[in-house]
């Protein structure tokens, strides 16, 4: 027997879900059993990128044996969305991308539903389509949403009706015009990133059941059980108390399972066949182009510094290609706007960040939420500026990066961070100044560095809550609404509860699956906010439970509660040195001395956390007291080799360091850092491709390659810095998304170091590198 783990915060305890995930007993949504009454749904999707829907005829589909119902948008005038309600549940008058759902077919088997979906006849009248965000932002571009001005929208999002611009964030600080003349070096460039996909191993899946009583249950793989409930309830007019969302383990989210995507279809389809659960599972092809993607970006960025390498000015325009619906993506453009400089102290900034409708799959949240996209250009320009003023790129970043207490671009004071320490750690781990020879004559070797920042991008007031209940044997149920996506949220929850209560880690059980009927509220498991926000709520709940226990025992012993504590599951008195185990007492209470009556009773601790200090920003300048709750910062260095015969890149080592405030579980932090580095490296070579009609060309895993065990870097040096955050549990802040933000630009900078060639556009295909090498050779000849 291994001894119990006491005071687990800061220790690399084993994941609470490890055993279940190693033995196949962990349940994902598709593993739930629904019995013989289960029906299956398939979606009828638009073959056109932009068209009017003239007529839908379901007659033939309904005649197929085994088909139970067909639902369309005609009978459903519902809109849905988190920040901007621009998405009809089913397309009504218009389709806006290849794959836009126009109808749902329900049948007794998935095969019959698939066959019936082919029989639904839809007449389209094609419209001109637009795919490039720059073109789509022009006044004469085909308009995707003529009703943009009528959609419900969050107070901090600024759509421009009559155009394809769903959000325009403006940042104005200082005076860029006069600053340019003081610059000794100016670099500008246009950088393009394609749409990419999250590629979770588990595709989206939802099962819904609509009872004749009006009670609705949705079982689904989601990062956001409560946001699903809120948005679907609002959209379909279901009382929140009648909609229950049950959320088993998520087989990879990365932002793709945030908010609502396809889950609402399952609910609408279930309404048509009341009493029967309806399962809707995305095929891998649908996952690629029919759920959500990371938005594309065209960034036009200009940055200047003086001869001493001090950054003076930046002007940038970010055009995010948001796809057909921007219900979530508008906030990515906003986040990119208020963080538009990257982690730098620049006195004069003019930034414009746009989210633009295009006739392509829906752009939405993906790990990094706009930051990997904007850092791609910023971090390459920083290297070029460093080169122009003759300074080492790492040193250039040390000089200019944000520091605690800086007044950053929005006017907010930078909360506690130490980015310089992160840079120092990665340059040391990467042996920054050592130059090793390439492995072969046809290979070239290079090193690159990039730094990053990212704030949780969310409404000002996203809340967390937690409840702690005791079982008779003093084991503890920790009830939360945060979701386990693989990042370790449940483990961190158990660690924080155990540590704050004073019980062994092994005594804590997380009440899962998350179920909106029983679990306390959590806004969403997104934005790398859970360790911080949920952690705070659990700590408050533990303190509440502990206070109840100590007051009871203090009364029992006739002592002052201030002299008591809970250690290793026992109440102890520092004064009298008495001890009492928690067992039984936490449920049954304690008898009075003479057994004349009892005191106490079942202990239930509750806690909540919600940031209350975030302020609005001025719509014309982006200035305000407190734009965001905090930033996590970090640095990454990459060493790689390029094969000059093939253009292929082999990433040899990655060194990363992030300031996490406090590593609640160091091994989980390292797991994020390693996994994120590979995710980031993989994303450098990924792109969803479309033909000139908006038809997807590579929506399968053979044609859209993600890194395999053979491609992935073999050496990853993860590290972290712990500069405590004022309002984090034990000082902790999040690190889930940040870990892939600097990877792509660090790779680009390393490729430039190796070849002397800059690549402004992703993906970095071997073909593109090969051709650039040939071009360079020809020029040199």
């Amino acid at each position: 027997m291994t001894p119990p783990v006491l005071e687990p915060v800061g220790k690399s305890v084993q994941r609470v879900d490890m055993y279940d995930k190693l033995t196949g007993t962990a349940q994902f949504a598709d593993d739930l059993q629904f019995g013989p009454g289960l029906y299956y749904g398939r979606l009828v999707r638009s073959p056109c990128a932009h068209a009017l829907v003239k007529h839908i005829d379901s007659t033939k589909a309904l005649r197929l044996r085994g088909v139970k119902a067909v639902v369309t948008g005609q009978e459903l005038p519902a809109q849905i969305g988190l920040y901007l309600k621009d998405r009809p549940v089913f397309a009504r008058d218009r389709v806006r991308y290849v794959g836009d759902p126009v109808a749902g077919v329900i049948a007794v088997s998935e095969e019959i539903a698939e066959d019936a979906a082919q029989l639904v006849e839809v007449q389209y009248e094609e419209l001109p389509a637009v795919f490039d965000p720059l073109e789509a932002a022009q006044p004469d571009a085909p308009l995707l949403h003529p009703d943009l001005g009528k959609y419900e929208v969050a107070s901090f999002i600024f759509p421009q009706p009559g155009s394809n611009i769903s959000e325009h964030f403006k940042l104005r600080k200082g005076d860029t015009e006069s600053a340019w003349s003081r610059c000794a070096a100016i670099v500008e460039g246009t950088f393009r990133l394609p749409q990419i996909q999250h590629v979770p191993l588990e595709t989206h899946i939802a099962v819904a059941k609509w009872e004749s009583s009006g009670q609705v249950t949705l079982w689904t793989s989601t990062q956001s059980p409560f946001a699903e409930r809120d948005l679907i309830a609002q959209s379909l007019g279901i009382p929140h108390g009648n909609l229950r969302v049950v959320a088993p383990y998520v087989g990879g989210g990365f932002g793709g399972k945030a908010g609502v995507s396809m889950e609402v279809y399952a609910v609408v389809m279930a309404r048509a066949v009341k009493g029967h659960p309806v399962k809707l599972r995305m095929t891998r092809e649908e996952e690629f182009v029919g759920t959500t993607t990371r938005q594309s970006l065209v960034a036009r960025t200009k940055i200047g510094c003086d001869a001493e390498a001090n950054l003076l000015a930046m002007e940038t325009q970010y055009y995010f290609g948001g796809g057909a619906y921007n219900d979530y993506g508008v906030n990515i453009a906003r986040a990119a706007g208020y963080s538009c400089t990257g982690p730098y102290d620049i006195p004069n900034v003019k930034g414009d960040s746009y989210c633009v409708y295009t006739n392509l799959p829906i752009g939405s949240a993906m790990r990094g939420f706009g930051m990997p996209e904007i850092h791609w250009g910023i971090e390459q320009i920083m290297d070029q500026l460093a080169e122009k003023v003759g300074m080492d790129p790492a040193e250039f970043r040390r000089r200019n990066c944000v520091r605690t207490g800086d007044t950053i671009l929005t006017g907010m004071e930078m909360p506690q961070i130490d980015l310089v320490a992160c840079i120092d750690k990665v340059t040391e781990a990467a042996k920054w100044h050592n130059r090793e020879k390439p492995a072969a004559p046809h290979k070239k070797r290079g090193k690159g560095i990039a730094i990053m920042w990212k704030a949780p991008a969310m409404p000002p007031n996203p809340g967390s809550s937690a409840v702690l209940r005791f079982n008779e044997d003093a084991t503890v149920q920790v009830e939360i609404g945060a979701q386990e996506l693989g990042q370790g949220a449940f483990t961190v929850a158990a660690q924080i509860a155990a540590h704050a209560l004073g019980v062994p880690y092994e005594w804590v059980r997380v009440s899962a699956p998350i179920d909106t009927k029983f679990s306390p509220y959590e806004w969403q498991t997104v934005a790398s906010r859970i360790t911080w926000s949920m952690g705070n709520a659990i700590k408050v709940a533990a303190d509440d439970a502990k206070r109840q226990i100590l007051n009871m025992v203090a009364d029992h012993w006739g002592e002052d509660a201030a002299n008591l504590d809970i250690k290793n599951g026992r109440v102890i008195s520092y004064r009298s040195e008495r001890e009492l185990p928690l067992k039984n007492m936490v449920v049954y209470g304690l008898p009075n001395e003479d057994f004349e009556g009892w005191k106490g009773g079942p202990v239930v601790g509750q806690g909540k956390f919600m940031p209350t200090y975030v302020t609005n920003l001025d719509p014309e300048t982006g200035q305000g007291t407190r734009a965001v709750v905090h930033y996590t910062v970090g640095a990454q260095a990459v060493e790689l080799e390029v094969d000059t015969d093939t253009g292929q890149v082999e990433i040899l080592t990655v060194a990363s360091a992030y300031d996490v405030g406090k590593a609640i579980n160091p091994d989980l932090v390292m797991s994020q850092i390693e996994g994120g580095a590979v995710h980031g490296a993989s994303s450098t070579f990924e792109a969803l491709r479309f033909d000139d009609q908006g038809q997807p060309l590579n929506s399968d895993l053979a044609d859209y390659r993600i890194m395999t065990a053979v491609d992935a870097p073999r050496e990853i040096h993860g590290d972290f810095v712990e500069t405590p955050l004022e309002d984090g549990p034990w000082g902790a802040r999040g690190v889930g998304e940040h870990v892939m933000v600097p990877t792509a630009p660090a790779i680009a900078n390393a490729i430039h170091d190796a070849l002397g060639i800059r690549f402004n556009d992703l993906p970095l295909s071997a073909e593109k590198i090969f051709l650039a090498l040939r071009g360079k050779e020809q020029k040199e000849e």
Binding site: T23, Y249, G253, T283, D667, A712
Partner: protein
């Protein structure tokens, strides 16, 4: 649709089943036997989440018909552990190395690694990575998985 009677040994237990001719082994395992540890990630043989052993060979169970398993032995993730609920040495190595995040690829990953160690008890890092090339993972970056397999190999047990 023709229905076939088949006999398959699944995790050491003989099963007598009737399956339609178009049913995949993956669907048979999940829907007929309730062995949901084997995951469906793409239904196209591209992700490896549904990997099981047929006799000693790892296969994508989404690409094989149930009736092709007639007379064969199938091992799924549920069959890897010990009868008393203890983890196998390979599973323990995954636990020690914290080689799991979302867990969706884990069953297939374990099966491919188990098959490798059965046929090659002392693989090099290259051989491990090559053996796992058909098992995609989006969370871990593979490093900890490779280290876990190496560790299990060094201890001489799978």
């Amino acid at each position: 649709m023709t229905i076939h009677s088949i006999t398959v040994t699944v995790n050491g237990k003989k099963e007598y089943l009737t399956v339609p001719s178009n049913m995949t082994l993956l669907v048979m395992l999940r829907d007929q036997l309730g062995l949901t540890g084997t995951k469906n990630g793409c239904t196209a043989g591209e992700c490896g989440a549904c990997t099981v052993l047929i006799d000693d060979e790892p296969v994508n169970s989404c690409m094989m018909l149930a009736l092709e398993a007639d007379g064969h032995e199938v091992t799924t993730v549920e069959g890897l552990g010990c009868d008393d609920g203890q983890l196998s040495p390979l599973q323990q190595a995954f636990a020690v190395h914290n080689a799991v995040q979302c867990g969706f690829c884990t069953p297939g990953m374990l099966i491919s690694a188990y098959a490798l160690l059965q046929r090659n008890p002392h693989p090099t890092e290259d051989e491990i990575r090559e053996a796992l090339v058909g098992n995609l993972c989006r969370c871990t970056g593979y490093l900890r998985i490779v280290n876990a397999v190496q560790d299990a190999a060094e201890k001489g047990k799978a």
